[in-house]
Symmetry: C2
Subunit: 140 residues, 2 copies
């Protein structure tokens, strides 16, 4: 059976190791939306041996830390769902009080429209953020 | 400012340590919905020092493991959002292909009605699961 996270990066590739990769999700409503994707095809976080679980979460923590330092979001949202694509990946999303869904989860009801220039301003900050992330991830 | 996860357990208490607690969320649509709540009031997972982050995630892994062993869910969903209650807590939810929202996130669009007796059958299994969880958590 074909799996889109086996076949493709799953977004804009920020950094890759032999075990995992960090991608930017290119979501129209949530520009600062990253994913940490385990390279091998496993469905559940606890399918990994404990050292790999920990390595994955330490990578999630690095992504969260850089997002907080650079963007000062209202809240970080973390999730590992995989109901549609059961290939282990963690969502790391910078949420803002004036984003389209806050305080709802991004999967919940939309609460407001966001001006295109506001989304674009956030989008413009992301190439520098991607570079900062790649630096932090490579330094480990 | 008052915080409901400072003031209350936040659900049916399954187990508590000096650092954290595990509660069952008592959600009408998703009976097998647990939360690991950090006792102290911090907003973000990376507000914790790395050993506490790891301790918290190892507890999440134990809850996930017991849910998988006892219930054999279609998928485990993990999330730390906290947009409404910014007091660090992890959702650990056993999802089933025939639950009301699958494969949508529980915060997304409802896709089907579930027979009350199907929900009750799952609910009936949970006191034994709570006891198994408490045993695993206490043994650590």
């Amino acid at each position: 059976m074909s799996c889109e996270l086996c076949d493709q990066d799953g977004g804009l590739l920020v950094w890759r190791s032999d075990k995992l990769r960090v991608i930017r999700a290119l979501d129209a409503n949530f520009p600062a939306f990253y994913r940490v994707v385990w390279n091998a095809h496993v469905a559940e976080w606890t399918d990994l041996p404990p050292p790999d679980r920990s390595h994955l979460m330490q990578t999630v923590a690095k992504v969260e830390t850089v997002l907080r330092e650079v963007l000062h979001p209202t809240k970080i949202n973390l999730a590992s769902l995989g109901n549609v694509v059961p290939h282990l990946h963690w969502h790391v999303i910078a949420r803002f009080a004036d984003d389209s869904h806050f305080p709802n989860p991004i999967w919940g009801e939309k609460l407001r429209d966001v001006a295109p220039e506001q989304l674009q301003a956030l989008r413009d900050a992301l190439p520098a953020l991607d570079a900062a992330l790649a630096g932090v991830l490579a330094a480990a």
